[in-house]
Amino acid sequence: MSASDWGWRHGGRTAWAVRGLNLAIVAGERVLLLGESGAGKSTLLQAMAGVLGDDDGGEAEGRLLVGGGIPTPGRAGLVLQDPDSQVILARVGDDVAFGCENLGVPREQIWPRVTAALDAVRLGLPLDHPTSVLSGGQKQRLALAGVIAMQPGLLLLDEPTANLDAEGVRDVRDSVVRVLDTTGATFIVVEHRVAVWLDVVDRVVVLSPGGGVVADGTPAAVLSERGAELAARGVWVPGFPPAWPSRIRAASERLLSSTELAVGRKTVVQEHLSVRVESGRALAVTGPNGVGKSTLGLTLAGLLPTLGGEVVAAESLDSGAGRAPIRWKSRELLTRIGTVFQDPEHQFLAATVRAELEIGPRALGLPDAEITERVDALLERLRLTHLALANPFTLSGGEKRRVSVATALATRPRVLVLDEPTFGQDSRTWSELVAMLAELLDAGTAVVAMTHDDDFVRALADETLVLS
């Protein structure tokens, strides 16, 4: 792969996503591509995979060659971040075969390739197994198998483990290593968490948001030279952990509690739970994917009815709204329990970030001056001021997370329920979130967080509830 003065500008944008890039990667190299959000890492991967679109999709300059030719779809294998949007067909075998069919591989060769690819990623499932019931980690390995079956000389992974729990991350990484060892394919991966791939890659390239390459060399050289700088820009560099805030633990009081609680959507997923949410304390709910963490969070937040037992608010919290949060009005929840959903996009209601933050305070009927003051302070605090007029949907993952947290904080709830608040975040957003939650805790807010993130639990949790 080689780029000379290559650049790309997405249709309708004035800024270049990538510009002035000069980079050569020879066959068989294994490269970790780093750079802060907006450095154009994903754009570069998509360009190499030939899926950036034609002239309608944007404008190119310079030259980008893969295997000596213009990149075309299907020649390089690309695995993306979101497990859900990469499953194409309903059955495991058909999904893996899809790429081979598109490349025109004869039928008698397709099925042996499919079986070999599924073996390589250790997805020991029958070919007619439904894809809809796979876990996130399994879906990513399925996507990897679909790519491997196409036998590409270049394997491109765009944050393939950002949405996975620890076990899923390990499975995907090990599968990739096995495949690279047998095929000798060239490998380029984009990832915030350096530690995952450090032992796999032999070269690290750092892109600059201004365009071009900032650093390029062996992992040891680049990380020792640039480690601190990369960490400051949000890359998770081993040896440069984000700072943990100190906490003052004042006296606390019970705000929400429940005994013999059973939760679920229609069928019970967890029962006989005993939960106590206290002011100024953080409760972390952990456990593997699909165990019912989100369901418990939504139930405590007064959004889902219980399937047994009751969630009871203390008198100091309900202040006249009644004991059971599920029976509170939507508006009554605002100052009592704020919820931050796992997917920020589910929560967005307005066309601009500023309007988004104003919705809660307006529903409370606060005076305009007060609303402006609160929103300005939050925008400033969460580094969102320059995005006040941007559409929330167009933001990066880290920015979306910050907006969704800000919307909950705008009404100053006494209990804050967060579902996977740090999932897929760079280290900079991570430390900002943790610092802010520590401040809120010290000021007496209760925090309930459903999380996979061990660092988060160690940094903040006063109590941990492990679901199994």
Partner: protein, 254 residues
Amino acid sequence: MSGPGVVYRVNPVAKLAAALLLSACLVLTVDWVSSAVALTLEIAVLPLAGLPARTFWLRTAAVWIAAPLTAVTIALYGQPSGRVYAEFLFARVSDGSIELAIATLLRVLAIGLPAVVLFVTIDPTDLADGLSQLLHLPSRFVLGALAALRLVGLFADDWRSLALARRARGVADSGRIRRLAGQAFALLVLSLRRGNKLATAMEARGFGSSAHRTWARQSRWRGRDWVMVVIGAAIGAVAVAASVSTGQWNSIVG
């Protein structure tokens, strides 16, 4: 989609064709003879399909409920003629409306039952294979639609999350219609974004490339598929013939 019965092994394209031919014959007329004849023949043939009884009753439950409801409505409000038996406000039960009601009851069953039996046993992937390989419909559209179908399952989850998120944001107290409209719009935005990502993932796997596409699964047209189409056409034809020969043919056109 698999099961023990022969109906599971018929090519989806044949099932689609049979259901379409049969329905085409039955929607042309509104008399009771054609529906009764078709329904009788279907009751004779349907058990041969091999659909498990439990599946049959579960899947056709909606038809069994819809048919009598439609018939009662037509008995009450249908075009009155002949002797009038009862009258209440706008409702008038007469010879004419009763005859029409019976004809409709039979027709809903005659069209609905075979359609349900044939469609619930169609696997979308197999249907896409058949449409592309046998009917040579453009694979780009057929596979695009097939992949989009998988997203429908995610919509239901998105919709539930959107409703909860709105309650959490403090805007779920008033204006139910406005709220649902807003929520529907949000779902549209989300689904477009999902669709976009899916399109990129498909393209990354070479979908839409210039290579001549091959098919991992071969869709075959066998003798039993002809039998399926002939059965559908024959029931329709016999029903029409019976209706015309007894002078009951009552065309919906003209």
